[in-house]
């Protein structure tokens, strides 16, 4: 079951904040977040396990609401280097398969 990401695209000015959402209709065990720049490999950002934990990585953080099967990625004070496509990947309970969403294209302009 492919997770649903929203929005599909977002354009920011440097220094602005953004939120990317990821939701699933199935019970989740974990959520991964990756960033992919054009023509490059996806880069792992962070993983969140069930239990409603929150994680941070520099000015990028994420939360995981296990009850709602939702995760959100928060980018604060965005930098030009944040531009790229962000993918969430979900692992359902009882599965070992990581299924990716369709991605959210983030563009940060000067």
């Amino acid at each position: 079951q492919q997770p649903v990401q929203s929005p599909q695209a977002v354009i920011l000015r440097e220094g602005e904040d953004a939120v990317i959402n990821c939701s699933s209709s199935k019970a989740l065990y974990s959520v991964h977040w990756y960033r992919q720049k054009h023509g490059e490999a996806p880069i792992f950002l962070m993983i969140l396990l069930k239990g409603g934990e929150q994680k941070g990585h520099d000015k990028i953080s994420a939360s995981f609401n296990e009850k709602k099967q939702q995760s959100s990625l928060y980018l604060t004070a965005s930098q030009l280097s944040y531009s790229g496509t962000y993918f969430c990947g979900t692992v359902q309970g009882g599965s070992e398969k990581l299924v990716f969403g369709k991605g959210t294209k983030l563009t940060v302009n000067p």
């Binding site: 492919q2 974990s30 490059e40 490999a41 996806p42 993983i47 990947g89 070992e96 398969k97 991605g103």
Partner: protein, 116 residues
């Protein structure tokens, strides 16, 4: 540490031809994955190996795709014969342990396949 190595970087073939992609995962990573990424979409898992055994190949079109991971290290993905809809980037990834719940994946740069 060295990343996940893939070759070739680009490949253009005619439909009905065959093609093979090679992947060398990070040393010590027992789990290896092949993903297909069509332009504008998220990566889709084709096959997952644990050492040299197949864990999941439910989305691998077995009539034309095959993959092997001899000796539990590097891996080869083959397409024979190729179709136009196989045009995509083929990504190889590896992770430390089997369960993706605990560790992130490290992806290679991918092979961009164009079938004409």
């Amino acid at each position: 540490e060295a990343g996940v190595a893939q070759s070739p970087r680009y490949k253009i073939i005619e439909k009905r031809q065959s093609v093979a992609f090679w992947c060398n995962p990070i040393s010590g990573h027992a789990t290896l994955y092949w993903y297909q990424q069509i332009l504008g979409q998220g990566p889709k898992l084709l096959i997952q190996f644990q050492n040299n055994g197949v864990v999941d190949d439910s989305q691998l079109p077995k009539d034309r795709f095959s993959a092997e991971r001899l000796k539990g290290v590097d891996s080869t993905l083959k397409i024979q014969p190729a179709k136009l809809e196989d045009s995509a980037v083929y990504l190889c990834a590896s992770s430390l342990v089997r369960q993706g719940a605990y560790y992130g994946y490290t992806f290679g740069s991918g092979t961009r396949l164009t079938v004409v």
